[in-house]
Amino acid sequence: MKDILRAIGNVFLKMPKGFFVTLRHFFKKPVTLDYPRKKKPMTPRYKGRHYLERYDDGTERCVCCGLCAAACPSDCIYMEPAENEKGERYAKIYEINQIRCIYCGFCEEACPEEAIFLGQEYEFSNSDLDSFIMTKDKMLVPHPRKENPFKKMFRRMRKAYGVLDK
Amino acid sequence: MNLDTIIFIVSALVAVSGATMMISLRNPVLSVMSMILSLVAQAVLYIQLGALFVGAVLIIVYSGAIMVLFLFVIMLLNLRGSEDLGRQSSPIKMSTKILFSLMLFVEFVFVIKVGFFKGDIPLGVMSQTTDNFGSVESVAELLFTNYLYPFELTSVLLLSAIVGAVVMSKRDAAETKTDESAVAVKDSDSKEQVVES
């Protein structure tokens, strides 16, 4: 008898509540996206794949100082310096092991030339291990760059203290 | 050789071969399955004889409840074909048993031939049936008029079966209640439903 009364109570008092909850959520906008077709816009400071920057005249910013490699906690940056005909240093080889990289962004902060920065892309999966080594030609591609507000601030500060860009 | 005859021959063959498989297969689950096959074929025979309602009830009660219970017990005891069923009994015993069965069969045929062919029951022909022959209404009418006392008595029988099953499958008070006791009760209840419906 107690069971029956409780069951009746549940059917008329508690179950509609549960049904109502799911029905309400049924009409809400889903939080997931139709992923491969629609992608979630990342936040401006999201740290995705690496890019190397050029100056406006097309020369590479990187001078192969090694600060990024020194700052890297996972030790994933390898570089070999060389000099061009003008006597300026540049990186002959600049490689980042994407599998080791933890995407902390320390290289970006350490770089005095603002040559390296981490972009928005995050789809790295591949079936070929070699393709995870980011070489210079992969990183030197043109890319949509959104200026990091903090970077902007730092640049102004550097200007103020006389550390000038080229 | 019209459609009726074909249906009769096929279902009779299925019923008999299912029954034979039932007693000859070693694996109890396969036995149960062939019994179900036989029962379904028998239900077809019922329906061919105009007993629609009883045929449906046969499937619901037997195939739907009783045989499930058999299967449940087999699974509960975890019997497989490998269960040791002892030595083969001696050929003399075996042949005696088969002989007795055959004698019984001969006797049946004799009875059918001699006893019933006198004409009391028109076995040779299928008489024309009334409109509601085998319908639910006519069965119910009989059950609640002429057969009211047997009907009430079966309910008492079912009650005693419930009590019996509970008592039998109940273990000592110290032991906890098990699935078996619960199921035995359930089974007898499920039969009661058929009576009421």
Binding site: - | V29, F72, K186
Partner: protein
């Protein structure tokens, strides 16, 4: 005679194809609806809105490798999917899915076979479906399958009673077992007096309807009574060891069972194909019927998305201590009013 055979065969083919398509698309519906209830979007990649997803699934299942484990009982293992699949399809033989219409001069009854014991047939056939599950579980010789089979048979024994008793009320009122007559009785205004409501039996048998729904869900092994395949406890229950087309046959069987039970529910309690404007457009009746079945299917899915699975002993208790007495009470009260 020949005409009749041809028409019947065409009807059978159409119904079977419709049921199989319905099964395929109820998987799609289930994934979409449950997805939205969980703030996801469900399948969306194959075709527009993922509408070709069932097709893709079917192709995938057909071409998958068929794995047959070693230590199984071969005969029953191979037989089980068919046994669970065929009774589910057979149920549709007696379900009327539309108002009788005439095409090209032929009067076509929109039911495959109008038995005068239609409901009993449905019950007889659905009660056979359990063997597929039990045999599958038993013959796989896997402990998960075995557990699923034992649970399923015990669940079946305890729910069959309530299932049978819950529709007695309707039968008492209608005084017939033929599904076609049941639908005809549900036409017209409610109890002959209330004109704005149809005379559906859900209004005269609300308790019976709730009991029927509960038992039907248990009968088809659906959540929250899906202990036979409780995926979080028993891997996949009775069909753990099945793969490829055999697995999909279980799947289709389950969904066909759901559709069958939904059709029976729609016929018994919601007036079957009955609806407005049938005089001028008789084909609308099929649409009404399908709409009612879809409502039931939606409820099934809604329930699955809402409630957690029952525990084994809870279910047994519920079946015997709640559903059974309530069904008896319903029968008694209905009988009292019918005699009055």
């Amino acid at each position: 005679m020949l005409e009749m055979i041809i028409i019947s065969s065409i009807k059978v083919i159409i119904v079977v194809i419709a049921v199989l398509t319905g099964c395929a698309y109820s998987t799609y519906m289930e994934r979409k609806v449950v997805g939205h209830m969980q703030h996801r979007i469900g399948p969306s990649y194959a075709g527009p809105f993922g509408l070709l997803q069932p097709l893709a699934d079917g192709v995938k299942l057909i071409f998958k490798e068929e794995i047959i484990p070693d230590n199984i009982e071969k005969t029953t293992y191979l037989l089980a999917p068919a046994i669970s699949f065929i009774p589910a399809i057979l149920t549709f033989a007696v379900i009327p899915f539309g108002k009788d219409t005439s095409f090209f001069g032929f009067d076509i009854p929109m039911v495959l076979s109008d038995l005068n014991i239609g409901i009993l047939f449905v019950f007889a056939v659905t009660s056979l479906g359990i063997y597929g599950i039990v045999l599958a579980g038993w013959s796989s010789t896997s402990k998960y399958s075995m557990m699923g089979a034992i649970r399923s048979s015990a669940q079946m024994i305890s729910y069959e009673v309530g299932y049978g008793l819950s529709i007695i009320g309707v039968i008492l009122i209608a005084n017939t077992l033929s599904l076609r007559e049941l639908i005809e009785l549900q036409m017209g205004p409610l109890w002959g007096t209330i004109t704005f409501l149809p005379n559906w039996y859900i209004f005269s048998q609300p308790l019976g309807f709730i009991l029927f729904l509960t038992c039907a869900i248990a009968e088809t092994n659906r959540s929250p009574f899906d202990m036979a395949e409780a995926e979080s406890e028993l891997v996949a229950g009775y069909h753990t060891e099945y793969s490829s087309m055999k697995f999909s046959m279980f799947f289709i069987g389950e969904y066909a069972n759901m559709i069958a039970v939904s059709s029976v529910g729609a016929t018994l309690f919601f007036g079957g194909w009955h609806g407005p404007f049938l005089e001028s457009f008789p084909m609308l009746s099929v649409f009404y019927f399908v709409a009612k079945v879809i409502m039931f299917m939606f409820f099934y899915i809604w329930l699955r998305a809402t409630f957690p699975r029952f525990r084994y002993d809870q279910l047994m208790n519920f079946g015997w201590k709640v559903l059974f007495p309530l069904a008896l009470l319903n029968t008694m009260v209905t009988a009292y009013f019918v005699i009055l």
